[in-house]
Amino acid sequence: MTGTPVLQVDGLAVRYPSRGLRKPPITVIEDVSFEVGQAETVALVGESGSGKTTIGRAVLGLTPVSGGRVLLDGRDITHLTGRARRALSTDIQAIFQNPYGSLNPALPVGRTLAEPLLADSTRARSEVRDHIADLLRRVGLPEDAADRYPAQFSGGQRQRIAIARAVARQPRLIICDEPTSALDVTTQAAALDLLSELQQSLGCAYLFITHDLAVVKEFAARTLVLQHGRIVEEGSSTDVCDRPKHEYTQRLVASAPVPDPVLQRSRRQRRLELEATS
């Protein structure tokens, strides 16, 4: 980490009003603070309902923030709306979990990719076309991909399109919300390789949201473990995975099966002992 962090999240809270007049609001995120340095990959790990996706959406401005601050390059962007928020799209981008839902089925891929570039309106159309051809080549898609519709691509290819859209304007930070969990393992490995390759050439930082600790260990430098909307453990991915301190992290680590029958047998034994003692 060098210089100011790209992203600082400070005491973030997200609450939804609950139904009924007197009932207190439902707290989804409470007092979450972390930083993402330049060109760093930070993983946000948790199970369903832990609030990991909500944090990503709050940073992207898709979910209203009830408390705390979100800073991009030291500048407060927590409550930006309208034009000022849209201007941020050159700095923050996202890759969503479901590559089937995140691309508009009614638009050819080239149009989907061109939209954010044309929204800048400083570029000429021919320039945009060349840029898209270059992007598609970079993410390993055929050149005629721009004229085809999302339904004509496989899940892995669609996720490559989504990645191309995210890196199109060379953002400083990309929120990756379970970008590979809908993919097959071999496709996942290729997508992760592509992400790290792009990180090295573009120098962007990733906030990598996932439920899969095994992916985290191979992909992220630092890891935050989230439970019921709070961060329960934080540290280098190796520390969190190999020497988990919090009871919940220990349970998570112990439950993740490894592709090695003998090792898995001993890990299972350890998990059952852990469960017996708690």
């Binding site: 990959t41 898709l62 339904a151 190796t238 029958p261």
Partner: protein
């Protein structure tokens, strides 16, 4: 992953054209032709009409069809065809005005309210409520009292007031669309709300819009001709469809044919609008279901290898034996083989892995053993044997007898397997009565339900039995589904990705349960999965499938420590492990 996957993937998607495929629906095509022909003829009236619309020829009054008067003449000897052509102008103009306002106002209000929500939505909905509560006909008459004989003013009023109905439909469709992930993605891309509404929301609404517009066109035409009938929108003697019906009705005794021609045309147009609307709705639904314009109905799959060629005697090992087994799906391009000459044997008390990525044919293989192939799928060769009985090619009734008792299924989506309207206890009780062979009354069934729930390690079985599926967590629901599969004490359990939808901590518990069921009951479990971690955890033996073929088989230790096929090696190398000491990136 699902059995229908190979069918979907071969179908390239065309640009969304709401009229694509109309020629497969003759009635819709005819309706469209009628509307277009009449409209064009009316527009070209000055060129097509044989006589001026007001020219009287009293000598030939009320004459029947003749060479110079193809549709005859009316009471004053005016040519009916010419008057119909000219009379269509106020009718269709009025309809067009009403429909135009209806579309513009209804779409705009609907999209704004549905996409922006908040106070914009509240104001628009309030305005719509007011508009819908105004009696339309009375207001139109009031407007006509001010703007005397103004067809446009009257139809404008109709369009404005009716647009609230369209706006409501568009608003609710829009509320659904704005939750789509691609709308979030567009926001993150920095697109403004106007661009998102125009480029991402609008295309998704076109189908519904077309249907509504057709239906409303028919209504608007009826209202316009109604005004004409009353002499309110077009001053006589100028021709109008409604006015002509009025004139014809006065001489109905002398020449009843006149009413048939004039009224018939209005009826035909109105009917055509209605049929067009129905047809477009069906086309829209086809498109959503993915029946593309040029798709032919897939034919039947010929059974390539005569299944009789395979031996008729049961293989003498294993509770489940699959021999030289092939499955094909019918597509428009002909049969497509998705499982190719697969063979394996599962022994009692064994957890057997069917491992592969999406499209490998693992799920299709597993489901076909239960006779649950998706429509279009056929076992084209080989056979499967369950405890010495050949189950391939059994008639459905025989399969029903076996399913649940000899072989059972646990599917990937536990919630889908349960009916949200019934308690766990009543659903489980039904299965027990059907498959469990429980003799005795309610108490015996209840007792058996409790046993089953206990056997899947649910802590408070009586409490679980009283609950509805949505009141339980995902892991608990999957346990209930497993209990259901156990009701008939099957010899073989097919578990299709039973933990894929669950969190890891919950997954570990379900895998423990499968292991203990195997140990306690000596049941054979066929575990269909893509997750090598799960395979390493519970499976004794496994096969690895790629594109419908088996590439590797054996005890899991061999598969993991001595893989022979490059695909298996690639699969193992690609599977991330929390136990590796060095990461890909430091």
């Amino acid at each position: 992953m699902t059995a229908t996957d190979p069918l979907v993937s071969v179908r390239p998607r065309k640009r969304a054209n709401p009229l694509a495929g109309i020629w497969r629906r003759p009635l819709t095509a005819v309706a469209l032709a009628v509307v277009l022909t009449v409209t064009v003829a009316v527009i070209l009236a000055p060129l097509l009409a044989p006589h001026p619309p007001l020219a009287q020829d009293l000598l030939h009054a009320r004459s029947g069809p003749s060479g110079s008067h193809p549709l005859g003449t009316d009471d004053l000897g005016r040519d009916v065809l010419s008057r119909l052509l000219y009379g269509g102008r106020p009718a269709l103009l009025g309809t067009a005005v009403a429909v135009g306002v209806y579309i513009v106002l209804g779409m705009t209000l609907g999209i704004l309210a549905g996409y922006l929500r908040g106070w914009t939505d509240r104001v628009i909905v309030a305005v719509m409520d007011v508009m819908l509560s105004v009696p339309i006909v009375i207001l139109m008459l009031a407007v006509l009292a001010i703007f005397s004989q103004s067809n446009v003013a009257a139809m404008l009023t109709l369009g404005v007031l009716s647009s609230a109905g369209l706006a409501r439909i568009i608003r609710s469709a829009c509320i659904g669309l704005r939750e789509e992930l691609f709308v979030d993605a567009a926001k993150v891309s920095g697109l403004g709300p106007v661009r998102i509404m125009a480029r991402h929301i609008f295309p998704g609404l076109v189908g519904q819009l077309l249907v509504q517009v057709c239906l409303f066109s028919g209504i608007a035409l009826m209202v316009q001709t109604g005004l004409g009938f009353l002499g309110l929108a077009t001053p006589p003697p100028a021709p109008s469809w409604g006015g002509m019906v009025g004139e014809a009705s006065q001489v109905i005794q002398q020449s009843p044919g006149l009413l048939v021609v004039t009224g018939g045309l209005i009826g035909l147009m109105s009917l055509s609008f209605g049929l067009l609307g129905d047809g477009l709705r069906d086309l829209d639904q086809d498109r959503r279901r993915g029946i593309s314009a040029g798709a032919r109905k897939p034919g039947r799959v010929p059974i390539a290898k005569e299944t009789a060629e395979t031996p008729d005697t049961a293989p003498d090992t294993g509770v489940l034996a699959v021999r030289d087994y092939s499955i094909a799906f019918a597509t428009a391009q002909g049969p497509r083989t998705v499982v190719d000459s697969v063979g394996f044997t599962v022994h009692p008390g064994e957890i057997f892995g069917l491992v592969g990525e999406s499209g490998s044919g693992k799920t299709v293989t597993g489901l076909s053993l239960l006779g649950l192939l998706a429509p279009g799928g056929t076992v084209t060769g080989g056979s499967a044997w369950l405890a010495g009985t050949r189950i391939t090619g059994l008639p459905e009734r025989e399969l029903q007898r076996i399913r649940g008792k000899e072989i059972a299924l646990v599917s990937q989506e536990p919630m889908v397997a349960l009916d949200p309207y019934f308690t766990i206890g009543s659903q489980l009780g039904e299965v027990v009565r059907r498959t469990g062979g429980v003799t005795g009354g309610k108490d015996a069934v209840r007792q058996r339900v409790r046993e089953l729930l206990t056997s899947v390690h649910l802590r408070d079985p009586d409490d679980v039995a009283r609950r509805y599926p949505h009141e339980l967590s995902g892991g608990m629901v999957q346990r209930v589904v497993i209990a259901m599969a156990l009701a008939g004490s099957p010899k073989v359990l097919i578990a299709d990705e039973p933990t894929t939808a669950l969190d890891v901590t919950v997954q570990a518990g379900i895998l423990d349960l499968l292991r203990s069921l195997r140990d306690e009951r000596g049941m054979a479990i066929v575990l269909i999965t893509h997750d090598l971690g799960v395979v390493a955890d519970v499976c004794d033996r496994a096969i690895v499938m790629e594109k419908g073929r088996i590439v590797e088989e054996g005890p899991v230790e061999d598969i993991f420590y001595r893989p022979r096929h490059p695909y298996t090696k690639k699969l193992i190398a690609s599977t991330p492990s929390i136990a590796t000491t060095e990461g890909r990136i430091a």
